[in-house]
Subunit: 181 residues, 2 copies
């Protein structure tokens, strides 16, 4: 892909995330093109369907998570870095759920569609977790499976409490204290 | 309601739970009547629609939870009793989710339909939690809102890990350790 095409694609993705967050995933492609400052033909060239756009946003988020986990693995305090990333994943879960639900409503299993990029994110989180355990910040005996399940569970708990910031902070405190050695 | 009508109603509920668990909520009313040992007319007299039956099962489960929480409040070790109840709620959440989803698919919000009985369960759990906190077994600063959100979150975490018993045990251990003072 040429550099300007790559830039346009990234701008469409960024605009689509903002428009979907504001108006829901039924927002029009016209609005996305307008906010991205490109023609509607450019949107359709990169993403022929709404599904393709939703999948690309999810893949993009997972790729960013992978990068973030990889760079945090080199942090001098991998335990604190892991818990900060855990918090961000919970905070971003509402938006992520919107995309996953929209794809599910279209009959698509978002997670299996991005199994390869999901595996990379899982692996990067596993490395960060291992570093945090080696640093003595996180208890032994839990693996990346438990970690991801706890992120998913904490996200659901936060959703259940209506995204109340105080409740969410107390829930995360319980889980983080439980993750200590 | 006369005593034999009450007994029949209870038998239909019990049979319906067993049949739905085995065959899903699309199971036939005939099968439920057969397993309950009553005529199909008896099922329809107590539960005119499938929705009424699903709501009654959920209400029944919530009522049992309320009773259990109330009786556990008198336990000599309310902390251990609370965590054991937490574990049972997570274990039963898969079945509960089936009913809630079936009602949601019928356009009904199960939880608002049973708000009164839900409030009683919430209150009973709150009393048990307060006893456990007074006994020094559970940290201060969390309330029944956080407790229920954590049960919901742990249930989702267990579901996400495919109800793997080992993963579920490790997830609960993290949360229970985090709930300690």
């Amino acid at each position: 892909m040429r550099a300007d095409a790559r830039r346009n694609r990234a701008r469409v993705l960024e605009a689509a995330e903002a428009v979907f967050a504001a108006e829901g995933t039924s927002a029009s492609t016209e609005e996305i093109a307008r906010q991205a400052g490109v023609g509607i033909g450019t949107v359709f060239r990169h993403f022929p369907t709404k599904q393709a756009l939703l999948e690309a946003i999810l893949a993009d988020r997972l790729a960013r998570l992978t990068e973030e986990a990889r760079s945090l693995s080199a942090s001098p305090d991998p335990g604190a870095a892991l818990l900060a990333l855990f918090t961000r994943m919970v905070e971003q879960s509402a938006a992520k759920k919107t995309y996953v639900d929209a794809l599910a409503n279209a009959g698509l299993d978002a997670m299996s569609a991005m199994s390869q990029i999901g595996q990379q994110a899982r692996q990067a989180l596993g490395v960060l977790l291992a570093r945090a355990q080696q640093a003595g910040a996180i208890r032994d005996g839990i693996g990346v499976t438990e970690l991801i399940a706890l992120v998913v569970g904490a996200s659901r708990a936060a959703e259940h409490s209506g995204w109340d910031q105080d409740v969410q902070a107390r829930i995360l405190q319980v889980i983080f204290d439980g993750l200590r050695p």
